[in-house]
């Protein structure tokens, strides 16, 4: 197969009549790794929901754009069609491990239940031990008898990853999986995800607000702002030579460990999800914007190989 494994183009999503995604385009190759970066309300989690066919549960629907997985159109899938994709082709690790696990059920039974649904041919007990070992949990035979509250945050996150692997997915979407974890634990979880990707030849989408996590763990990167992709390309390029004024401002606003100088803050705050706007959503906070930025339509334009930017003044910005 040629072309990306997951290819989302110009996706627009409405929830209860509010347009929460305007123009999201992301792509991840077979076995590749993509980091999706954005602030609150930028549409990161909504994009995940769309890629997992979970919009219906919150009253949302795709109103424009396409999303294909391995060449298959996702936006037109029926409930049964989704059942063959969700969990089996695309695995998902949510942010909140505590509220996603059943507090009164032992870990072993929770994994076995998932295995029986997603992988009915397998020996559920043997497969759950295998999954716990795959996520590098020591003494898997003891972990299966524990309840979620008896595990640390990092261990629970590993259990969540084991659950997501139960259906042997070709793509794993991890939504802010390390946000609530300490830096030492975060490092081990990121290393685990990298190892699993290589061992299982699985693609990875890492959703985060932390640029440094993406730079150290992902090959490509997409920056979302107010429900649209504003810049996408190789992670190294975006972190060292960003083009969109928002990406540039985001990097300048990060405090550095090596330098204590004043931070270049971005005035104002990101708009709430679903706030309608004309032209570029970032224009009201942008130091490069002129009157024309507040109208018209924007498209992602290539600036170099594999690097696209949605800014009509990008040539003046990067000069």
């Amino acid at each position: 197969m040629t072309g990306p494994l997951l290819d989302v183009r110009h996706l627009s999503v409405e929830v209860a009549g509010r347009r929460v995604l305007h123009d999201v385009s992301i792509a991840v190759d077979v076995g590749g790794s993509l980091g999706i970066v954005g602030e609150t309300g930028s549409g990161k989690s909504m994009t995940c929901r769309a890629a997992l066919g979970l919009l219906g549960r919150i009253g949302g629907a795709v109103v424009a754009g396409t999303a294909t997985f391995a060449g298959r159109e996702l936006t037109a899938l029926s409930r049964d069609g989704w059942r063959a994709i969700r969990g089996r082709q695309i695995g998902f690790v949510p942010q909140t491990s505590m509220s996603s696990l059943d507090p009164v059920m032992r870990i072993g039974r929770q994994i076995e239940e998932t295995v029986r649904v997603l992988d009915p041919g397998a020996d559920a007990r043997a497969r759950s031990l295998e999954l716990l070992e795959a996520v590098e949990l020591p003494r898997a035979d003891r972990i299966v008898r524990r309840h979620p509250h008896e595990l640390s945050g990092g261990m629970r996150q590993r259990v969540m990853i084991a659950l997501a692997l139960a259906g042997r997915p070709r793509l794993l979407i991890a939504d802010e999986v390390t946000t609530a974890l300490d830096v030492t634990v975060q490092r081990t979880i990121l290393e685990l995800l990298g190892n699993l990707r290589r061992q299982l030849d699985m693609a990875l989408v890492l959703v985060t607000h932390d640029l440094a996590v993406v730079e150290s763990s992902c090959e490509t990167m997409a920056v979302l702002y107010a429900g649209a992709t504003v810049e996408a390309g190789p992670a190294g390029t975006l972190c060292t030579a960003p083009s969109h004024p928002y990406t540039r401002a985001l990097i300048a606003a990060q405090p550095l460990l090596t330098d204590g100088g004043p931070l270049a803050s971005i005035p104002g705050a990101p708009p709430e999800a679903g706030t309608p706007h004309d032209g570029c959503a970032f224009a009201p906070r942008c130091s490069h914007a002129d009157g024309l930025c507040l109208g018209g339509t924007l498209a992602l334009e290539p600036v170099s190989a594999g690097h696209v930017v949605a800014c009509r003044r990008v040539r003046e910005v990067v000069r």
Partner: protein, 321 residues
């Protein structure tokens, strides 16, 4: 210079058994100082913050403000104004029924008993100094953004005219672009008002940005103290090294991963994870923590300042822990 806020051999236990949350800790805050306290969840840093602010009494030891122990300071004693706190959850720290202006005026009326109109006038001025628009001042927390709520929280603290601001993870709930605004505001307040700050954070880069001195907490104890930039450039304690080396984009620092029940009661609480552990580490509590070059670490086998600094492996933007 005498400390305005000082913890002496402070211990806090919750419940009867199990290790203490804070274990015999000393800390002094001089006027105008910037002290950062870093550590992972469960290290006791928030418990320490609440004791320093006088809202949680220690089990043993003493916290003194202006030379007097918190236990001898009455609720309405003017001394209580001198230490104020801002919180991680900017919404949860505000009364949902009060407008931003009324939330600040409430504090002014409690301490200074001015007329209602005068309190509102002073509150408006303070909120304007914090960068809030007149329109936002009339709104309740739910109508404000996270960054605006944190500005209200800071204004409430400043309404007391404090000498020390205790900030417990003040920006971890905020987006990066808004975090930078709040950090810049705190830097400006320190410069303009000579405010001392005790910053509790798991984000090493935030600590680096806002403080001159740093202390690393592990399992209720301070394991390393140093000027902030020194600490992050050449960590002396193996735990600090692990912490700094775990930041995405940094390398260096390691930990034992194998479970080792034999050292569960070790006087060095980091021993089970420590790659430098040796038999003589058992003497850690009696070992002199003062190291060459003015450094301080509670460790028998520290990395001396001459050791290779932790390396940047790439352009390092974050520093979130």
């Amino acid at each position: 210079m005498t400390a305005i806020l000082e913890a002496r051999a402070v211990t806090k236990r919750f419940g009867v058994d199990g290790p203490p949350a804070v274990d015999g800790l000393d800390l002094a805050v001089a006027p105008g100082a910037g002290v950062g306290i870093v550590g992972e969840s469960g290290s006791g840093k928030s418990t320490l913050a609440r004791m320093l602010a006088g809202v949680l009494p220690p089990t043993s030891g003493e916290i003194a403000v202006g030379g007097r122990p918190w236990t001898a300071v009455d609720r309405r004693d003017q001394l209580r104004r001198r230490v104020q706190m801002i919180f991680q959850d900017p919404y949860g720290a505000l009364n949902p029924w009060l407008s931003a202006r009324d939330a600040v005026a409430e504090v002014i009326r409690f301490w200074d008993r001015p007329t209602r109109a005068e309190a509102r006038e002073r509150a408006s001025q303070l909120l304007a100094d914090m960068g809030l628009t007149a329109d936002a001042m009339g709104r309740r927390p739910r109508g404000l953004s996270g960054g605006q709520c944190q500005r209200v929280g800071i204004a409430r603290a400043l309404a007391c005219a404090p000498d020390v601001l205790i900030a417990d993870e003040p920006t971890s709930a905020l987006d990066v672009s808004v975090q930078a605004q709040i950090l810049n505001l705190l830097v400006a307040l320190r410069e303009e008002r000579g405010l001392a700050i005790v910053l509790i954070s798991h984000d090493l880069a935030v600590v680096r940005h806002l403080t001159e001195d740093a202390a690393v907490m592990y399992a209720g104890r301070i394991v390393e103290r140093a000027p902030t930039h020194e600490m992050f450039r050449s960590p002396a304690h193996p735990y600090t090294r692990l912490l700094v080396g775990s930041i995405p984009g940094m390398s260096g620092g390691e930990a034992r991963t194998a479970h080792d029940p034999g050292v569960a009661d070790h006087p060095c609480r980091f021993a089970p994870r420590c790659p430098r552990r040796a038999d003589d580490c058992i003497a850690v509590r009696s070992h002199d923590p003062h190291l060459p070059g003015g450094r301080w670490a509670e460790c028998v086998h520290p990395h001396l300042p001459a050791a290779a600094p932790v390396q940047r492996t790439q352009t390092q933007h974050g520093g979130r822990t």
